[in-house]
């Protein structure tokens, strides 16, 4: 089982008493807000959780995995996530199998 937007909205409904529409909208807008910011070239820092950072990558050689043909990978901008100290410490002690 994975945590999804539906479950996040459920907790806003049960724990904070938002109505279902408000809860769903807020969860949607939360992720949209982060996406929009990254799209506009700004990093996002959520203290206690982690930072979403933009990186620019230059052109590099790649291969078509099917044909083996050499093709350049175009320069691009990608998002990386760096977990915060608090999240790292909480996750580190998880002893189960990889999900």
């Amino acid at each position: 089982m994975a945590l999804t937007k539906a479950e996040l909205a459920e907790s806003l409904y049960f724990e904070l008493g938002l109505n279902k529409r408000e809860a769903k909208d807020l969860v949607d807008q939360f992720f949209e807000g982060i996406r929009e910011c990254l799209e506009n070239g700004r990093d996002v820092k959520l203290s206690g959780f982690g930072n979403f950072t933009l990186r620019q990558k230059g052109e590099r050689p790649g291969r078509n995995p099917r044909t083996g043909e050499l093709i350049p990978i175009t320069p691009r901008r990608v998002v990386t996530f760096k977990p915060g100290q608090k999240l790292k410490l909480r996750v580190e002690s998880y002893g189960g199998d990889n999900p």
Binding site: S11, R76, V91
Partner: protein
């Protein structure tokens, strides 16, 4: 690979303010509580080994780092480091495309 960023990063409180502007019928403190609840639930999920899947945004999962022998940089002594899990984020298709759209 270079860092591109000259703009100030967006912080949690700024995100809360922005959401608050869109959800005008909700009190600012309720939006603040909602954002904290979302992040808390996401952290709880990862801390118990559960994946997070947000369509169009991305997924979070745990990666395992194998046990290894490290060194104390000061004394040079070897130390046995146990295996551990670290959070990992894989951006979804929509996020990847939107972030990259001015670069193609």
């Amino acid at each position: 690979m270079t860092d591109n960023n000259d703009k100030q990063p967006m912080t949690k409180s700024e995100l809360i303010d922005a959401l608050s502007m869109e959800q005008r019928h909700l009190a600012h403190k309720d939006v603040e509580l909602a954002v904290k609840t979302i992040l808390e639930q996401m952290s709880d999920a990862l801390a118990t080994g559960e994946r997070i899947e947000i369509r169009g945004f991305g997924s979070f999962s745990l990666h395992f780092r194998a046990p290894r022998t490290g060194r104390n940089p000061k004394s040079g002594d070897t130390v046995e480091l146990s295996g551990k899990h670290v959070p990992h984020f894989k951006p979804g298709k929509d996020l990847r495309e939107r972030v990259n759209k001015d670069f193609e």
